[in-house]
Subunit: 212 residues, 2 copies
DNA sequence: TAGGTTTACGACTGTGGGGCGAAAACCTCG
DNA sequence: CGAGGTTTTCGCCCCACAGTCGTAAACCTA
C-alpha cells in the first residue's frame, strides 16, 4: 500500500501485537479463506485498515515460499502492490502508520523485501504504463504531477519532458481548465487528467520492435 | 516449459489421465509438499518429465486463485515460466508432447491463459533483458539467433539490428571462432555467445530516465 | 573464372527523449 | 502604471539509437 505523502513515497504499516516479530512493523494482510480469491482476500484485509474505495490500483507482486520466512510455521504469502492517489488522506487505526520507503523501520518476516519490490515495480511501470493515474488526483497540473513522479522515481524529472512524453503517448489530456490564480503569482497552470484510469501499456520496448 | 523447436515456439504438455479434464492437455506441475519452496517443487515435478539440467531459466509468473479454476475442489496454483535452449532435445515420456504455442489444443484448467502469459512475458523480456541465453545454444551465429528471436517474438527481426543492439548493450560477445564452411556456400558466420547466462536487465526504459 | 549464396558492416534516415532559453501570464511593490 | 519576480508553457536544437539499405567479404558450385 503505497502513496506519495508530503513529497515522499510512503508505505502503510502496522505494528504487530504478537509473536513472531512482536513490535515489528508489518505490511497489512491476512489469511486466505476457503473459496476466496486472493484479490478478495487482500481487499478484505485492507478494508480493516483503510477505506478500500480509495485504492486506485492493485497488482500481484510475487509469492514468497521460503520455509524459513516464518520462524514458527510453514507459511506461504502472496505479496500485492496497492496504490492510493495523493489527494486523499485515509483514516487509519491507532496501530497503523505511514512510513517513508526510503527510511523503513524494522520489518517483520520478509516484508522489507516486499516493500522494496513494490517500489521497484512501481518505478518500472511508471516508465512504460499509465500507472501514474493511481498516484495522482483526478485533475492536476504538470508541476504537481512532476512532484509525484519525482517522489516515486527517486530522481529528478523535467516537467517539459514529462508533459511531452505523456501527451505524445496519449496518456494525458488537457481538461481545458486552468488553476485559479493563487496568491503566489506566476502563470496559472493548465489542468490535465489521465485519459484512462485503467492500466495500459503505453510504450513498446525500444528495441526489437516489429518492422514497419 | 517453452522451447523453440523447428522454428516455432513450443510448449511441453502432457495429457491428463484422470478427471477433471480427462484427456485434455496440461502444463506439468504438481502439489507443493510441506516445507518445500515453490521452486523446489516445480523443479521436482518437472524432473519427472524432462532432464531439469537442461532448464536454462525458471521464473514465477502469477498465482491463480479463482475458486472456479478447478471444478472439483478449491485449489491455488502458482504458474512458472521455464525455458530450454534450442539445441537440446529432451527425452519425454509417452504421455508428453511439444505443441506450438500458436496452435494450442484443448487445455485443462486455466492452463491456456498460463501458457499465453508465459509467451508474453518471454516476448517482453527478450526486448529488455538478456533472457535470450535461455533459448540459444552456448555458441551460435547471428542468423541462428535471429531465427530464435523470430520464433519467440512472432515477427521479423533484422539480423543487422539484432547484432548491433545486443553487441552495444554488451549482451553478446564474439568467440573469435567461425562456423566451419559447410556445403551450402556463403561466407562463414562468426560465432557469438552470451556474455552472461544469468538474467540481467540490459535496457533502461526509454522515457523518464534519471537526468545526465 | 563467373555467378550464386550467405554473412558482415558501414552509411543514411527517422523517431523521440533530454536540455535550454524565451515567451506567456500571473503576482507584488514602488 | 510600470518594473521586477515567479511559475508555467512552448519552441528549438541536440543526440542516442533503432530501422533500412546497399555493398563488400568470404565461401560455394559449375
Amino acid at each position: 500500500m503505497l502513496q506519495v505523502r508530503e513529497g515522499q513515497l510512503q508505505v502503510l504499516l502496522w505494528q504487530r501485537a504478537r509473536n513472531p516479530f512482536l513490535g515489528a512493523w508489518s505490511a497489512p494482510g491476512g489469511y486466505l479463506e476457503p473459496g476466496e480469491t486472493l484479490e478478495q482476500s487482500i481487499r478484505g484485509h485492507l478494508a480493516m485498515k483503510v477505506d478500500v474505495r480509495e485504492l486506485a490500483h492493485l497488482e500481484q507482486l510475487e509469492v514468497l515460499s521460503d520455509p524459513r520466512r516464518n520462524p514458527l510455521e510453514w507459511e506461504l504469502a502472496t505479496a500485492y502492490l496497492g496504490l492510493i492517489p495523493a489527494d486523499v488522506d485515509p483514516e487509519v487505526p491507532e496501530d497503523t502508520r505511514w512510513h517513508p520507503v526510503s527510511h523503513l523501520p524494522e520489518l517483520a518476516f520478509d516484508h522489507r523485501a516486499i516493500v522494496l519490490a513494490g517500489r521497484d515495480r512501481l518505478r518500472a511501470k511508471l516508465s512504460y504504463t499509465n500507472v501514474g493515474y493511481a498516484l495522482a488526483p483526478a485533475v492536476f497540473s504538470i508541476s504537481e504531477l512532476r512532484e509525484l513522479y519525482v517522489a516515486a522515481l527517486g530522481h529528478e524529472v523535467s516537467a517539459t519532458n514529462l508533459q511531452r512524453v505523456l501527451l505524445r503517448r496519449g496518456v494525458l489530456e488537457r481538461t481545458g481548465e486552468r488553476r485559479e490564480p493563487g496568491r503566489v503569482g506566476g502563470r496559472p497552470a493548465a489542468l490535465y487528467r489521465f485519459r484512462s484510469r485503467r492500466l495500459e501499456i503505453t510504450d513498446q520496448f525500444a528495441a526489437l520492435r516489429p518492422p514497419g
